[in-house]
């Protein structure tokens, strides 16, 4: 699979090479064979052999069959990619398109049939990526022939952003109506909550990474601070969710400032690794500071949210009305059902996420938001314009942290139980992947990425184990293909309108 990446990204180089050498068939075959040889050398130790645990000892098995199949798939893929660049994009598109659709049909008819294809999903993904690349190139060729100045990628991004104007409200209406739809059972609502949590986290991190251009690899630390602050505040002081939420967000923001103040002067990659370390420190501290966090056992019995003081319980204690009793008394008769709380939680996170979004959209048009983007573009120029880089970055960092903290509080109240396990580096990586794959700086991109990256694997459980692998690979591919981000398309925050009235 590492080799699959070799393929796609090396394609541009192959293209120039092939064009320089007059794309002869022999050359392309040789090139594909060379790729295959490298892939074989890479695959030989790690794919060809497999360490298996047998009781207390480890033994080794071979799987040369799979290794050779994989290498063959890769060499073929490379060959297809070079053909695309050599001008056979349409033919390849037709071939790979038919192949990938046929495969899907096959799986739909007979789920076991996937085994017909060697290496299952993996080779399907390769075929699909070949098809996508072929489509992209043939589209690009056509627009080149028309003399368009804009690259197809930019055009896709621009189109998505423009569609978002219509698509966004539709999506919002759907999000509002979803729990009330007939098909909305517990599973749907839970999935909705999960996706929305990541949308919110993605939007929060987008402020830091997408707008201010600061690579924060420890975002989960603020999520953790928010969750633990909420749990501790709510349990110790008996505050309810809405009272404790701002405090938890504030504490997370304060942590952001505390961490950011010393490290935000550092250059980008130092900042990245320090934030990575910070995420780890927070986790280790939570794991070991038993008095505060109860260590690895975590904190349980975190107060669940109540609806204006009315809990979601089947039988409330004396003198307290529960939500379903109140609802039955004032609107219409309903019985108790656990989904009522889930729906309520769903609307809470929807509200929080929307607040994050509106806040971000507004602040982008304010001086501070423009200064973030300017800092991302050129810090030295910013200093020469009198912008204080440290303070400006600090606000981005603190605001991102605050949203992380809000999301953390929500997580705590939803789960009712938190432990350090939930806040490891993988979590940071997932959030970052959402931001990057969604197209740094693009609000709609984060939504799409969350639905695909979080919702997708929830539905296709058998893909779960490939999820992180695909995240990593896609991050590399997208950076190579579109270093500004997949859906990066920037609307100016202000337009100069022709002067009205007499000059």
């Amino acid at each position: 699979m590492a080799e699959a990446t070799v393929n796609t990204s090396a394609a541009p180089a192959a293209a120039t090479g092939a064009r320089a050498h007059e794309p002869s068939f022999v050359y392309l075959v040789k090139d594909a064979l060379a790729t295959g040889a490298i892939a074989l050398a890479l695959a030989f130790p790690l794919v060809g052999f497999r360490t298996v645990d047998r009781g207390s000892t480890t033994i080794i098995e071979t799987r040369f069959g799979q290794m050779f199949l994989g290498v063959a798939v890769i060499a073929l893929g490379r060959f297809a990619f070079s053909l695309i660049d050599a001008g056979y994009a349409r033919a390849i598109l037709a071939g790979s398109g038919v192949l990938s659709v046929a495969w899907l049909l096959l799986v739909a008819v007979d789920p076991g049939g996937a085994a017909i294809f060697p290496l299952g999903w993996m080779s399907w993904m390769l075929v699909v990526s070949v098809a996508l690349r072929a489509a992209y190139v043939s589209w690009g060729d056509r627009s080149e022939a028309r003399g368009d100045a804009v690259s197809p990628g930019d055009r896709v991004a621009a189109t998505v952003q423009r569609l978002a104007v219509f698509f966004g409200p539709v999506l919002l209406l759907f999000a509002i109506a979803m729990p009330l739809l007939p098909m909305a059972d517990q599973r749907w609502v839970d999935l909705g909550i999960l996706v929305l949590t990541y949308v919110m986290l993605g939007w929060g991190l987008n402020v830091v990474v997408g707008l201010a251009g600061l690579l924060d690899l420890g975002y989960v630390a603020f999520y953790a601070v928010g969750a633990y602050s909420y749990a501790i505040i709510a349990k110790t002081f008996g505050l309810n969710f809405w009272e404790a939420l701002p405090m938890a967000g504030g504490l997370a923001a304060m942590f952001g400032v505390l961490l950011g103040f010393p490290v935000l002067r550092l250059r980008g990659d130092y900042l990245a690794i320090v934030t990575l370390g910070f995420g780890e420190i927070v986790r280790v501290v939570l794991l070991n500071w038993n008095e505060l966090s109860n260590g690895p056992k975590g904190i349980g019995e975190i107060p669940r949210p109540s609806f204006f003081g009315m809990p979601f319980t089947p039988a409330p204690p004396q003198g307290v009305t529960s939500f379903h009793q109140w609802f039955s008394a004032h609107l219409w008769e309903i019985g108790f059902s656990p989904i009522q709380r889930a729906v309520y939680l769903y609307y809470i996170i929807l509200l929080l996420a929307l607040l994050t979004n509106i806040f971000t959209l507004r602040i982008r048009k304010l001086p501070i938001g423009r200064a973030w983007e300017a800092l991302r573009e050129d810090e030295i120029a910013c200093r020469a314009l009198g912008i204080n880089p440290t303070n400006t970055k600090l606000t981005a960092f603190a605001i991102g942290a605050m949203f992380g903290g809000f999301a953390g509080s929500f997580f705590a109240t939803r789960q009712g139980f938190i432990s350090p396990e939930s806040f490891n580096f993988i979590e940071s990586a997932i959030i970052l992947a959402i931001v990057v794959l969604g197209g740094m700086g693009s609000q709609i991109g984060v939504v799409i990425a969350s639905i695909v990256l979080i919702g997708g694997p929830e539905w296709f459980r058998d893909l779960e184990s490939y999820r992180m692998l695909a995240f990593g690979g896609l991050m590399v591919l997208i950076m190579i293909w579109r270093p500004q981000g997949l859906l990066a398309f920037r609307e100016p925050t202000i337009l100069l309108k022709p002067k009205a009235g007499p000059p």
Partner: protein, 295 residues
């Protein structure tokens, strides 16, 4: 040409007050002395040219002035017309622009390439707008105070866009402008910070003859109408000699001459620095023309 230079100098000398006083400025990088004990004065409402061969230390002087480098030795005093005085060598880079109102451009253009032309000019008015937006609080709430301030900022940007001839490119990405337009935009952006001293690092580099001519007009306009001091690093002698009121010549980090264009043009040390040590009496024609030496 000589006559015009003389008259502008004479005219401005009457009104001129010292704006920037550089005393014994030295900047060392390890063993390398990039600027070596340089002193000069730049007058208000004058264009002070800084010239010198490559590597003479011109940009380094700017970097010291604008706080990118902390000078090894030296005093950089800036006097505002209201009598306030700033010691630039003690201030952080961004504070120099914010409080002392020194603005600069860069030898290799530094715009915000993915932001629009207008946004570049609005970002330059950051500090003012931050205050007006109540450090974002009023802004988020959408209060009128902020909206009016933003409108004023747009008007200032519109004015400078008109001045540098970029009004119809206002909503385009700055990075997509042609080279000459980027140079002008950078000057406009510096002017949007409302400076008292404008430092330009080779603004004519890469411009064609017509653009260079327009630049001359722009700089004179800035000096005469906006009544500020300009420090100008420039290799193009036709620009420097014609619009500078005063010229400082650096070579190997040291100041080798200082005076009005007429004096510099005839200074033997300067001619030697430009032509190398071998005393070659016949100047190449284009150098002779630039220096205005009659052969």
């Amino acid at each position: 040409m000589t006559a015009t230079a003389m008259t502008t100098t004479a005219m401005n000398a009457a009104a001129a007050l010292p704006l920037l006083q550089v005393d014994h400025l030295s900047m060392r990088f390890g063993g390398l002395v990039a600027v070596d004990d340089v002193s000069f004065t730049a007058m208000d409402r004058q264009i002070t040219g800084i010239i010198g061969p490559n590597g003479a230390g011109k940009t380094t002087v700017f970097n010291c002035l604008t706080g990118f480098y902390k000078p090894t030795v030296g005093r950089l005093a800036l006097s505002h017309s209201d009598g306030r005085e700033f010691l630039l060598e003690r201030m952080d880079g961004f504070r120099i622009t914010q409080h002392a109102h020194v603005a600069r451009t860069f030898q290799n253009i530094r715009l915000f390439p993915r932001m629009s032309v207008l946004e570049n000019l609005i970002v330059a008015q950051h500090n003012k707008l931050m205050r007006a937006s109540g450090y974002s609080v009023f802004g988020i709430l959408g209060l009128g105070v902020y909206r009016r301030a933003e409108q004023a900022a747009v008007e200032r940007a519109r004015y400078w866009l008109g001045r540098v001839g970029l009004t119809d490119r206002a909503n385009d990405e700055a990075g997509n402008l042609p080279y000459g337009a980027q140079r002008r935009l950078e000057i406009a952006r510096a002017m949007c910070t409302e400076p008292v001293l404008l430092c330009l690092d080779e603004p004519a580099a890469g411009l064609n003859a017509r653009e260079s001519e327009e630049l001359n007009e722009l700089l004179k306009f800035i000096r005469d109408e906006h009544k500020i001091g300009v420090l100008l690093i420039e290799h193009d002698m036709s620009v420097v000699m014609r619009i500078s009121d005063h010229i400082v010549v650096l070579d190997y980090g040291r100041k080798i001459a200082d005076g009005n264009p007429e004096k510099i043009r005839n200074d033997p040390t300067v001619i030697r620095a430009y032509l190398g040590e071998e005393e070659d009496e016949t100047l190449p024609p284009e150098v002779a023309r630039d220096l205005g030496v009659r052969g």
